[in-house]
């Protein structure tokens, strides 16, 4: 039995499917590929796959990963990629297989590239608004929790910010807290921006990489 981490991109049409749908698509591909994936041993056995950090609907992911266990060690990583890609839609394609170096729970940060535009607003203006937003001592938003609405300061979750002015958009590079305990969804930052400016933006979010708490690449 061997644990492997399968790396894939989620893009094109497939950015619009939820994590649950991604999970289903992956299980079906694993089943179809006939790779010797370890199955759960319950009443209704199914291939077992875990995702260190789910990706929100609508985001592109260029370095996403999934952990599975192989019952047979004799498959080369190239073979796994080849077989899986033949069974996946074009929006989900695997490109690497590694042996997991870190446990899934070690994910602490994620980096994002966000393109923000609005037909009637020049990029420079959006950049200025972003700078104003991030210069605030705190960015407070209302968040739904189990005990009703509560106010949280999302700036706590922002590790680093870069703002670049592009021809057709403002480019925002972010590193945010990620993982099961302290996760900051970049959509919350967009909401804060929209609330501050009263505008509605077209947003294109890509998740680039995952990191551990020492800002080492998650591998």
């Amino acid at each position: 039995m061997k644990s492997v981490r399968i790396w894939f991109k989620k893009d094109f049409e497939c950015r619009y499917i939820s994590h649950l749908d991604l999970n289903r698509a992956m299980l079906r591909a694993l089943h179809k590929s006939k790779l010797p994936i370890w199955h759960t041993e319950g009443f209704n056995p199914h291939p077992f796959a875990t995702f260190p950090l789910p990706l929100s609907l609508g985001f592109r992911g260029i370095n996403e990963c999934m952990d599975v266990k192989l019952e047979d060690d004799n498959y080369s990583f190239e073979e796994i990629i080849r077989r899986l890609n033949a069974c996946l839609p074009r929006g989900i394609q695997t490109f690497a297989v590694t042996e997991p170096k870190m446990k899934a729970g070690k994910v602490a940060f994620a980096s994002f590239t966000i393109r923000i535009s609005e037909p009637k607003t020049p990029s420079s203006k959006i950049c200025d608004d972003l700078k104003t937003l991030f210069d605030l001592p705190s960015i407070e938003i209302e968040k739904k929790s189990k005990k009703g609405m509560k106010t949280v300061d999302i700036k706590q979750g922002v590790k680093s910010v870069q703002i670049k002015e592009m021809l057709d958009c403002a480019l925002l590079e972010l590193v945010l807290s990620a993982g099961s305990s302290d996760n900051l969804n970049p959509n919350l930052i967009i909401s804060a921006l929209e609330r501050a400016t009263g505008k509605e933006y077209d947003v294109d979010i890509t998740r680039n990489d995952l990191y551990n708490s020492d800002m080492e690449l998650f591998r």
């Binding site: 499917i17 289903r24 698509a25 839609p89």
Partner: protein
């Protein structure tokens, strides 16, 4: 493939994965290299439409021809529709992202009457004129098929061509005529005239209907050499009939998210309320060998780990046990489970149970349809009380503790006693559970009684019957509820639910409607009616207002008893079952007399004229 404009809307709607295509096995072609573009429209949501087997068969069949590109179109849910309208985005096909108005053919499958408004709404969203006569050119030919095409009259103003019967051959023939006509520079009228000569094609514009003072039909006259009677098409040899070895595998969860393997068409039973039991005659089976190999290919190509065997009344498949043997020989190893969704009460044997149990145990559903034996005889269900109890005992002994039973209320000749018998039958099943040795230990039985309202349908022996009025249906629904409550001891174990009578009423109006209803449909489309099959949107009150505005009494269609000699709106269509047979069956119903099924004895319905299927099988009593 979706446009930038559409992408900007996707994050604002629920389940955007429905609007993007890009699934595994989707067919992409170069539009410059194809000759005929066919937009296959399902007038409901993606999740519903993608579960439909007929669409999968025709999609693969059409796309197996290099010169045809068939793409899929579904009705956008209300949130997406609203955004598309406000952003001036026309309805598009999922594969190319091209607007539906670019297509040569716009084809609809009509599975239920309440999807008619969605068909019109989809045309409207496509910026295609909804009325056939307003589409003058030889393009955007609107065609429609499916069970509701058996009475196409309420929507005859909107559709250019109806396909009567099974579409595998006739659809392709019509596309060939289209290619010829276009190559020869012919116009739409000529194209329609030529198509009308093809068996299985009904061009409503080529017929004139006359009416009597009382609103019934006085005459039905063909024009321009169109045939007086339109005969349905069938695939005679199911083993040779096209079947896809691949399905488009959705990215988002759909209603029936599994592989589907057709095992036969038609039904031997002849339950008198069931339209499918008559219009798909005669029964034509696939051989176990063909089913087995098609099934295996399908599972391998889709990656599905579940396959359901599809047909009406699956346990009537003559070689069900050998078939299950073949399938289970590889299903276990390949981790594929088999489900048999359409089982009759008398078809659930130990042997079948053990074969499907090897993989997964889901709830069991049976449809006795009526509570009393008399009522079951009237509808020719041919299920005995003892059989039902034995079947339930078999299931309970096999580890099941949940049973769902389907019934209908408002059946012809139904009395209060018959209605109360539904509750009594549920009680009897509960009692059977506690009498069964080897039932699941320490588990309470759960029986669900589900009652829908009878809708008289064309081409059934009950096509002349009035539907119960809505208040009468409500009374019967309440009567069942009260009858269950009287047994307080077991109350927690019986769940009862019933279908909304309002939707059944509208269904009854459209199922047996005539051409006068076209103007109601048109007005409904103008007013933005859609998704009438969904409780979120359906409002009978609004429909009644429309009927009143049009000066049409819906009760004329739903609640009126028709005489055997009245010209029915669908009399010019021939599904192979003769009217005299249906009349005879109706009379037998009044006498509580059952009719033997096709394998026991031929009752001469007329379907033997197709020269195939069960009509020519050797019957056991003849051997």
């Amino acid at each position: 493939m979706v446009s930038k404009e559409v992408e900007r809307l996707l994050l604002k709607v629920q389940k955007p994965g429905r609007y993007v295509g890009g699934e595994l096995n989707e067919v992409i072609k170069d539009k410059k290299k194809v000759d005929v573009r066919f937009a296959f429209c399902f007038p409901d949501t993606y999740e519903v439409g993608m579960s439909h087997l007929g669409m999968k068969i025709l999609y693969s069949l059409f796309n197996s021809y290099d010169h045809i590109w068939c793409e899929r179109v579904f009705a956008p849910w209300t949130d997406m529709e609203e955004l598309m309208r406000s952003h001036n985005i026309p309805l598009y096909a999922l594969e190319s992202g091209d607007p539906v108005s670019d297509f040569d053919f716009i084809g609809f499958t009509l599975q239920y009457e309440l999807s008619f408004t969605n068909m019109l709404n989809m045309l409207k969203l496509s910026n295609v004129p909804i009325k056939a006569r307003d589409r003058r050119e030889l393009k955007n030919i609107v065609v429609a098929g499916g069970p509701c095409a058996c009475n196409p009259e309420p929507i005859s103003d909107f559709v250019d061509i109806f396909f009567i019967g099974e579409g595998e051959e006739v659809d392709l023939e019509v596309m060939e005529i289209f290619r010829e006509c276009r190559a020869q520079g012919g116009d739409k009228d000529e194209f329609l005239r030529r198509c009308s000569k093809v068996e299985g094609v009904y061009v409503p514009a080529l017929y004139e209907v006359g009416y009597n003072d009382d609103g019934t039909i006085s005459s039905f006259k063909p024009k321009d050499g169109a045939p007086a009677v339109i005969h349905k098409r069938i695939m005679k040899d199911m083993d040779k009939s096209f079947y896809p070895d691949n399905f488009v595998v959705p990215l988002v969860e759909i209603v029936h998210d599994r592989a589907v393997q057709e095992i036969f068409r038609g039904c031997i039973r002849g339950c008198r309320f069931c339209q499918a039991g008559f219009i798909y005659r005669p029964v034509r089976e696939k051989s176990p060998e063909v089913i087995n190999s098609q099934c295996r290919a399908l599972c391998r190509n889709t990656g599905y780990d579940e396959v359901s065997l599809s047909s009406l009344s699956s346990s009537d498949y003559s070689q069900i046990v050998p078939l299950l043997d073949k399938l289970t020989s590889w299903c276990g190893e390949e981790r594929v489970s088999i489900s048999l969704p359409s089982l009759r009460v008398d078809g659930f044997t130990d042997e079948i149970m053990n074969k499907i149990k090897t993989v997964r145990k889901s709830g069991l559903t049976f449809a006795p349809e009526a509570g009393s034996q008399r009522m079951r005889d009237v509808i020719n269900k041919n299920v005995q009380f003892d059989e039902l109890m034995n079947t339930c005992a078999t299931a309970f002994a096999g580890g099941w503790s949940t049973v769902k039973l389907y019934f209908m209320i408002g059946l012809p000749t139904e009395t209060e006693e018959d209605v109360v018998a539904i509750a009594q039958l549920g009680q009897a099943v509960v009692d059977t559970y506690y009498k069964t040795e080897g039932r699941p230990k320490g588990k309470a039985v759960r029986v669900t009684l589900s009652a829908s309202s009878f809708v008289p349908k064309p081409f059934t022996p009950f096509q002349w019957e009035p539907q119960d009025t809505i208040p009468a249906l409500h009374e019967k629904q309440q009567l069942i509820k009260d009858s269950i409550k009287s047994k307080k001891v077991y109350f927690s174990k019986i769940t009862y639910n019933y279908h909304d009578a309002d939707t059944s009423y509208l269904e009854a109006v459209f199922a047996r409607g005539d051409r006068k209803l076209n103007k109601v449909m048109e007005l409904a489309c103008e007013r933005g009616f859609h998704f009438d099959g969904w409780n979120d949107c359906f409002d009978l009150g609004k429909w009644l207002e429309l009927f009143e505005e049009c000066g049409i009494d819906p009760a004329f269609y739903a609640n009126r008893r028709r005489s055997f000699d009245e010209i029915l709106p669908w009399d010019h269509i021939d599904y192979g079952v003769s009217k005299s047979f249906l009349i005879n069956e109706c009379k037998r119903a009044y006498e509580n007399k059952t009719t033997l099924n096709c394998r026991q004895k031929c009752s001469g319905c007329g379907a033997a004229k197709y020269g195939g299927g069960v009509c020519f099988e050797k019957r056991q009593d003849m051997v």
